[in-house]
Symmetry: C2
């Protein structure tokens, strides 16, 4: 009967220490979300099949986990697909629900469904797991948390400014200095293609440009030429391949390139607005950088695009991202609602804090004091004190069995419980408690009040 | 293209106010779990198919949500089951994962899988959603949270005592007075059947006895007779049908009935131990009651059985339950590990607190102050102050657009933001802020320090 237990690949068990560390990161993020005026919502883990399908492209559809209908699901299966053994076509007839793939589409669905109960602009945050049937690899899981903040119902650029401040506030709170907040704008990218007369090649263009870091200028140009962009066109925008300098210097160069593009000039104006606001309110520890190679989910974003990179000394890539999307709720029938949002990558942030040893020591603390169990009478004496300690906010435990003292001390040690109380007949007689500091080995006898005093 | 958005039946969206209230309940429970020395773990939302199947009986298996394999799942489908269109038999070959049905089986799997990393007794808590394909009805959902605390690795009765104290501590913290903690013991129930020589009818016996409240003494006896228990047998245990009085009085009566049953006498001893400890450390607001009709998941529990009922004025039934199980990890190959645990019913507790109006006022608070947006210069002036407020821990927002003032005030009102700041050119000139209390309508001009002072 016994099974060798395991968990599905790409999923994880979290031990108490891991949960404590994750909870710490989440609580810092939540705290800042709330200070910035975002309100929490939660949506179901699974959505109707048709709510999710078709929203993430063909590849996304494939990666969505589908839930098998209950009962005799084959009775209602698509007969033709069944006869042809066509898994893909059969699926919609035997699965009417699917696990959410991200928090953005469920949020759009939520906004449309509850539009009459919400006040716009609606600022929400949402911290929940999502699931993707991706090939698992280092730092990529099939179940992971997303931490999203979005505003819908306003196209004010102050929101972009606030999101940059929000990133800065969260990473400053986490003690993670020197993160790079990279910003781009789809209008700038559109401007480039307009200037060279290749608007319809926007995706090919940006997919290639996005690789500048990896394959270099020559590589990018080669790919662009292969996609049918002319040598001459590339000359017109030559400066973008070596764009360097401060935010303002980059803006100056872009201005000359994009002078003839209306949408490009709009993008420049947005950059200028953001740059000017941030220079009036300097970031605390993050750096803001203009990065015209940044594309992310381009077929989605219509304005600003954000990405946050961990400090250069840890090579872990993106720890957050986001952008503006002008018509997200349109897919559910609510048109012309502009939205902008950002996301924090919990798992990556975890790895970065771990690597830089930035988790506060207090995060690992659990039970503060263990009472050794010497027998029934002593246990009761101990539990009475434990009750007072708990009421005073101190996490305290009684070892449940009157086991050998050595066993109990080893338990305290292994669990890294910092203090131990030993109270036998003598202490009970005197109404005292033997108190031992497990680190220093020091021991003393104290009253209950004394115990509370030391442990507080 | 537009779809009318909806969510799967039995699932829920949670609005900001609902999330805040749920978070409040969870944080009270977590706080007490931690004071009692429980440590958090988390397990994946889905487990391997075989980890879950067969653990909850046939009905349970049916209610488990199965996840369809990715890709061309029919390629590996069981040919015979496919040809016979047998959904039930086909399932294991097209689904290798399933959503967890409770937190207990995943916990057992966790303990066995991680046994070498854990210190026993291991006290864990776990607060995560579970899924059941149950028919949705009032208070019953297809996705809901469980809040569980369990200890494995010790059979000490002090743990039963502590769980009773834990229930008392949580409900006292929530301001919910007068909950009834009902306790029973499988050994007592076994004792009854031993006394009447019907040990093998234990389940039939307890299923009938469990209905005493609903169908009365005559109904229960009728059902027992139908199940083949004799008139004579029922006479032997006649006093249990009218068991009344204090905990001690009930114990006295049970003692006489169970005198000839060894297991029954053990049950009595356990009751006495618990009763004596609790009388030495009286509960704060809860009442402990002995209820021999309580059965719950009997084929699971081997010792104590707990159930918590909401105060009688709210008719909502059980808001928590649990018990001792002596061999939970045995199904995964780790024998003779005794466990005991309890659970809190989040959704029911929510309804009870709502009905009795017990949510603290502070739970509903969100953003404390909204800055009205009069234009670019004013917005920047406002954002500089907002930044200081946020650093001081005050949730503050700028209305993102320079919309009509009335629109912005209506927004503040509807969102129940208690204070509003109005700062135009005149205030900027004087480096002051117009401050309005939305409840009283009072207005004054204050400095930034003044603003911080009032809002703190």
């Amino acid at each position: 009967m016994a099974q060798k237990p395991s968990i599905p690949k790409g999923t994880r068990d979290f031990t108490p220490l891991e949960v404590a560390k994750r909870t710490y990161i989440i609580s810092v993020i939540k705290d800042q979300f709330e200070k910035f005026g975002f309100q929490p919502i939660e949506t179901p883990s699974f959505e109707n099949f048709e709510t999710l399908m078709g929203k993430y492209g063909e590849e996304g559809d494939r990666l969505i986990f589908k839930i098998l209908n209950s009962g005799d699901f084959l009775a209602k299966a698509n007969t033709k697909a069944f006869q042809e053994k066509d898994s893909l076509k059969l699926t919609p007839s035997i699965s009417e629900k699917a696990l959410r793939y991200d928090l953005t589409v469920p949020f759009a669905r939520f906004v449309v469904q509850h539009q009459n109960e919400l006040e716009f602009p609606f600022k929400r945050y949402q911290i929940q797991p999502v699931w993707r049937a991706d090939r698992p690899q280092k730092g990529r899981f099939r179940e992971f948390f997303q931490c999203d903040a979005d505003v819908v119902g306003s196209d004010s650029l102050w929101q972009e400014v606030e999101f940059i401040q929000l990133y800065d506030a969260v990473f400053t709170s986490l003690g993670l200095k020197g993160v790079q907040i990279k910003i781009n704008n789809r209008k700038i990218l559109s401007g480039f293609t307009e200037v060279i007369g290749e608007q319809e090649k926007l995706i090919d263009f940006t997919v290639a440009l996005d690789k500048l870091d990896k394959i270099g200028e020559e590589g990018v140009k080669k790919e662009m030429l292969e996609k049918g962009i002319s040598e001459e066109a590339l000359k017109k925008i030559q400066p973008i391949f070596g764009l360097k300098g401060t935010f303002s210097e980059k803006i100056s160069i872009l201005k000359t390139i994009l002078d003839t593009s209306e949408i490009g000039r709009k993008g420049i104006k947005e950059f200028q607005f953001i740059q000017s606001a941030i220079s009036e309110m300097p970031l605390k520890t993050a750096e803001l950088d203009l990065d015209i190679t940044l594309a992310r989910g381009l077929n989605y974003y219509t304005g600003a695009i954000f990405e946050v990179a961990a400090p250069p000394e840890v090579k872990l890539g993106s720890i957050g991202g986001g952008g503006r999307y002008d018509d997200l709720t349109g897919i559910f029938g609510l048109k012309d609602i502009s939205g902008v949002g950002i996301s924090f990558g919990l798992d990556r942030i975890f790895l970065v804090l771990e690597e830089l040893n930035l988790f506060p020591k207090t995060v690992t603390l659990n039970t503060k004091v263990l009472f050794i169990n010497f027998g029934e009478k002593e246990a009761l004496y101990g539990l009475k004190a434990i009750r007072k300690l708990r009421e005073a906010g101190i996490a305290a435990e009684l070892y449940p069995d009157a086991a050998k003292m050595k066993k109990q001390m080893v338990y305290a040690n292994k669990r890294e419980i910092p203090f131990v109380v030993l109270a036998g007949p003598e202490e009970i007689e005197l109404q005292l408690y033997g108190f031992k500091n497990m680190k220093t080995g020091e021991q003393e006898k104290v009253s209950l009040d004394g115990l509370m005093e030391i442990l507080k």
